[in-house]
């Protein structure tokens, strides 16, 4: 064993020993860690100590060492549009905010927003770039604030929330009117006619209303309904107008067009069903469940303006 490979290595000086000898010839090789490894190790020690000073690190009782590192970022208040400079101890959320604030896209967005802010509605509608911006930002705003009721595409729910993509506007479809609706909110109301009108009379009025938009042909029943509609008993024309085309200042629906916002008439197959569904609504009225909340105070003026343009173009921009 004495002339084995290890001893050859030892004799050639390839590997040093620690210098100790036990039991005569039992020796221990000295294989120190590679120098580069050792320096990397020392480096990590230094690094970790510096780290404790800069970043959040050790838990201390109920709290933790927060480090001296800070992140500066600006934040824009959603309601007042005020830009505020903030400084926080180092954390990745603040870092993300800082990154987002400095992004090139954010600068572009701010520049476009400044342009839209000073432009009037006509100018915005005629400018392809501004409209592109409104559609892009508006989609997000609409999704966040409006889609819960009106649907992601603004299609609404019949009987509940108006469809914003058609050309029929209960409260007026100009950009100014839409802005007003958004800012101040609306409350749709129609009194219940149960008790005022007898059941046959309700049928007659329903039959008449169906003829207005061509859903049914005029008949003797509908003629009687016409008298109720335009007479003192029903008095429907107070709100819906003598021509039944609705009064936007009242939020009263146009009954002569093909759009049914409350009674889902087109979904019914037979005339009886159509009359029945319409009758229910005339009897019960439309009470304060049809409420559009006021957004002034919840959204800032910029967002309301953007949404007004967005909703206006959804509905065909007429």
């Amino acid at each position: 064993m004495s002339d084995n490979k290890l001893n050859v290595r030892q004799q050639s000086g390839a590997v040093q020993t620690t210098g100790h000898a036990w039991d005569g010839d039992l020796q221990e090789y000295n294989n120190p860690l590679p120098r580069w490894w050792l320096w990397c190790f020392y480096g990590t020690v230094v690094f970790s100590i510096l780290y404790w000073f800069i970043y959040p690190s050790w838990p201390v009782g109920q709290t933790w060492l927060k480090g001296f590192g800070t992140v500066d970022y600006t934040i824009t208040d959603k309601k007042t549009n005020k830009v505020e400079e903030r400084e926080q101890r180092w954390n990745t959320r603040a870092l993300l905010l800082a990154d987002l604030g400095e992004a090139a896209n954010n600068e572009q967005r701010k520049a476009m927003l400044a342009k839209v802010r000073v432009a009037n509605y006509d100018q915005i509608a005629k400018d392809p770039k501004m409209m592109e911006f409104v559609r892009s930002v508006g989609k997000g705003l609409f999704g966040d604030n409006c889609a819960a009721c009106h649907g992601r595409g603004g299609q609404g729910v019949v009987g509940m929330y108006p469809n914003l993509t058609d050309d029929d506007w209960l409260w007026g479809g100009s950009m100014d009117k839409i802005h007003e609706t958004l800012a101040q909110g609306r409350m749709g109301f129609m009194p219940a006619f149960e008790g005022v009108l007898k059941s046959e009379q309700l049928d007659e009025v329903a039959a008449y209303v169906l003829t207005l938009s061509g859903e049914a042909k005029p008949s003797a029943t509908s003629e009687r309904g016409k008298e109720i509609f335009h007479g003192q008993i029903g008095g429907c024309y107070y709100c819906h107008g003598a021509d039944a085309k609705g009064v936007p200042s009242q939020g009263a629906a146009n009954l002569t067009d093909k759009i049914w916002a409350i009674a889902d008439v087109p979904a019914q197959k037979t005339l009886e069903d159509k009359t029945a569904v319409l009758k229910t609504f005339i009897a019960n009225g439309v009470n304060n469940t049809r409420v559009m909340p006021a957004w002034k105070g919840r959204l800032n003026d910029d967002d309301i303006k953007l949404l007004a343009v967005y909703v206006h173009q959804l509905g065909g921009a007429k």
Partner: protein, 510 residues
Amino acid sequence: MGIDLMFYLIISIFPNSSASVRWITATPALQGDQHDCSHRLTLIGWNMSEDSIQLYQKRIPIYPRSIEGRFRNLKTGVMVLAYAVYFLLPWLRWERPDAPDQAVLYDLPGRHFYIFGLTVQVQDIFWLAGVLIIFAILLFFVTGLAGRVWCGYFCFQTLWTDLFIMIEHWVQGERPARIRLDRKSWNREKWIKKGATYGLWLLVAFWTGLTFTMYWVDAPTLVVDMLLGRASYAAYFTTFFLTATTFVMAGLAREQVCIYMCPYARFQSAMFDHDTLIISYDAKKGEGSEGRAKAYRGQRTPEERKAKGFGECIDCGHCVLVCPMGIDIRDGLQYQCISCALCIDACEHDLVNYTSENALNGRKTQFLRPKTVGYGVILAAATAILTWSVLTRAPYTGTVEQIRQPLYTQLSDGGIRNAYEVKLNNKLTEPMTVGIHIEGLPGATLDMDGMERIELAPQERIKLLARVQIPPIEGSKVVGDKVTFVIESLEGATAKAIRQEVPFHAPAGS
């Protein structure tokens, strides 16, 4: 190059430790150096007693001798041409309205590559794949035909190493002077000469790095900004990184890059066959029956040598002295050889030549072979397709997508409306006017709020809203379920109109 540098660093910081590298020293060194081992590296695996095993071979410096000749001139010519293109191209101006005026500019933030009259947009980036395919096939083609032509004449590692050796030669003198200088202790002369060499290298490396950066930003602005310390972080980093890699690769690592780091150097051997041109020593002529011998008295004339059985090689060693890879071509074809052909220039007895294995064995070299023809055909096809694609590129793009929420809208007069998003992109560096109309749906009208005719600024991209409306459906009349958008260029460009058929939805059973 970044990965190359990392390899180099890994090799540098693992001295004596990387067990996977099994190098042992074997071939006698013909390079003048002072190392005790006096050996060149050759890979042959485990062997011999353990204390001769060197897991890591320290670089043995190579001092290539300068040489004049046909191939040296060719290499210098290629070098001058390549450097002229590389260093001067970013300074060439090219007038473009509303776009950068640099002839070749890769504008990453602006998402445009400007190459003279060609503007490459993001959606045309597949051309890059075409260019890469062409380069790859070109490498296969040339290597199959004539060996490592790329390595010997065109590779930037070869070019920059060549330049750095020239600088070294210019400052420190010819090979013996350089060896002497290296052996000297550090006196004034050594400090000055070494300092001048390193300084010049650094200057070249810096200008190389800076020039690379110039391809990505406006060159004159960059140089001024760089000096004033207001260039972007990316610009400084790129320049610094390439300065460092150029200095390390061409000044310090040199042939080690080709031997240890470069994958192309290795896999090019897979493209060799018996007809591939290689640089080879004519052993029959050079060695004779008794081998090579120095031209001592009594074995000088051809007759005397013939009588003694010696070959024509007088063992002057010039072919080894000029070799930038530090190999002896007389040992046969080696993976280290980059085919730079300087040993052909060096041999006064014409014993080293471009030849092929078949020619060496007395057969004819076939240049027309299925492999070369095949690569040639693919190369021609790929080049033709790319050229065709570039030449027939559209001056603008237009796409139409249906907005599917809601699928359709019932209008108050009973009509049906669908909405679409139209995306337009002017790919020109000049303004153009685009007109949009619809076809193929009876009675349908298009409403784009007056943007049916729109002027696009140079390189403008825009998304527009289009509404298509049909009058009330009477009775059981069947409505078409498709509509075709026609987007045509009205002013500023001539091109075929873009026609796109998109679905049109109407309520079922109406």
